[in-house]
Symmetry: C2
Subunit: 373 residues, 2 copies
Amino acid sequence: MKIGILGGGHLAHYLARAAALFGLDVAIYDPDPQAMALRYTAHGFSASWDDAEALARFAEDCAWVTIEREQVPLVALRLLAERGVALRPGVDELDVLQDRLALKRKLDARLEVGRFRKVSVATDVLDAAQEFGFPVWLKARRGGYDGRAVVKVQRAADAQPALERLVDYGELYAEANVGALRELSVTVVRAANGDMRAYPVVEVVPRADMCHTVLCPAGIDEASAIRATEAARDAVVLLNGVGAYTTRLFELDANEVVVHKVMPRPHESGLYSLEGVITSQFENHLRALLGLPLGDVAQIAPATVSIALVGERDGAPNPNVLAEALQTEGVHVHWYGHPRALTGRRMGHINILGYSTDGAEKVGLYCLSRVHL
Amino acid sequence: MKIGILGGGHLAHYLARAAALFGLDVAIYDPDPQAMALRYTAHGFSASWDDAEALARFAEDCAWVTIEREQVPLVALRLLAERGVALRPGVDELDVLQDRLALKRKLDARLEVGRFRKVSVATDVLDAAQEFGFPVWLKARRGGYDGRAVVKVQRAADAQPALERLVDYGELYAEANVGALRELSVTVVRAANGDMRAYPVVEVVPRADMCHTVLCPAGIDEASAIRATEAARDAVVLLNGVGAYTTRLFELDANEVVVHKVMPRPHESGLYSLEGVITSQFENHLRALLGLPLGDVAQIAPATVSIALVGERDGAPNPNVLAEALQTEGVHVHWYGHPRALTGRRMGHINILGYSTDGAEKVGLYCLSRVHL
């Protein structure tokens, strides 16, 4: 049996590793011929997202095709759907997930997603500011991720310049600012028969819009954890998702939580599960796709911390990074093997298991202090 | 950086998985185009062991070439050595390791390996029996593994027929029978600078000459464990090994141990380490090759048991095996994806972590009772 993955980055690679545990063949498709996951399959394809012929060869004999990231252009999924390829998520599901406004509207039916409204011109933005108060977040409906296509509007004079900065992104909307105490993330895996398992609520500490440090479990009140988990479960059900779905949330005062976004896949905030949980998010995503029983989501240690290894300069990767990082015993090093280091690029990550998130994080920070990326 | 592996079975695949954690490219070479590890690399090569041109293409840009199994024909290593490819083990080391008698002679200098003597004709076998007592094990120096090229000589009349059965194997020798209580295995990983780490002593419960069940740690007296570990460390030093070396031993009465054989690689008896130890034998083998610091060999749980999934018939693999095996929570399933099931073929294995080997084994046996292989 063969599984196809659209996108060939490190998340695709971890999905492929999980598939290999079950003896499955894996086909990977990425327009970038240097995409790292292509190196670890005999069925790698590199062509544009609208190359119907290459997509057909890629999907040949695939029981399911899934995606590594929700930004995979819909044209690729549509071409595959026309050939009758089984897709998770499907075209219609991904269409909603790529449209921030449509997603918010869908979730708003049952979940707290914060206030938002569609905007087109400067007066709309000012209306939004009157309703929500400043600052307002101006966002593109489509094409945004990792902080892209987002502009903060601090005062009335910012409205028109903000609109102009996003002019290439099509339709826009405005979001109220929420005073978040913490950013949280919950991955829920859901089987086609409706069975669900929720991974622990983790705290995400972003840096430069990257999911930089993840603390599992999040050091939050039990009431917040329950609300976050319930919200993530509800989100997957509302979206009729099958597979691992990651919900990012903001924790507010008084144990309130607000859903920020939902992604139909294992996410960077779930990399800790590779060594930290009995069944990783990647393995459970596949189990759900294949109709296999979902696996145990218990933590292996009381705490796991995952820290990104971020490039600090442009150039050849430092060959000593691995050796230095590995000096710290028991730290699981993941190095993606990118041919070039770039400032701000995620070059790998480390997972640290321990008795407390605080202790594990300190081990990780000590380790990082010896690595020159 | 690229690593080459000669042999493309599941052990090669686990080496390749470890290499991918470090972002390394992996080239795999196996004459069998269906060898499972070939499916998970963009650099797979299938040609005969003496195809100099294919070997050259395989080894291009490889920092190191290692082997999956010690039966890889020396001709392949010689052809690579002629091209200046860095090999672990080297040609001379593997030459000794493939020759059971030469290996025993080498180890005999410092270790208890049992009594043995070279034999050629029936009277030699009878002389051995007179010295050791019946039964005597008649073995080929080369070409034997997993119980092949081994004949038990129970009485004088068996000597000539036994010699005739091994006539195609070249030179022979005889071994004394040892009254083993248990079979043990110890993997030691050794760096080029001499650093060593010994994995826990495990008990191997063979079935039909296959390493069927592995219990970690072995339920043996501390004195036996120390002697087994010391013997395994000494063996690697005597052989000047770099990488993971697996030493199989017999435990006798009174905490005595006898070295049975040594293999220059991670072995089936170390599959438990994939989930059971912080750094798997495969990862540490690579670390040693690459000159990286050796990783922590502490167990993740107090006990881990690994049980082979063995084909019970010939035919298409049972598609329900995975689903049924996965019903048992927390059991790590490894399924190699062989296109055909064969009676007696290792189709995969399960690793079970627990608080005791007894408990973990029972979980595994319960799981197996629900699987029809």
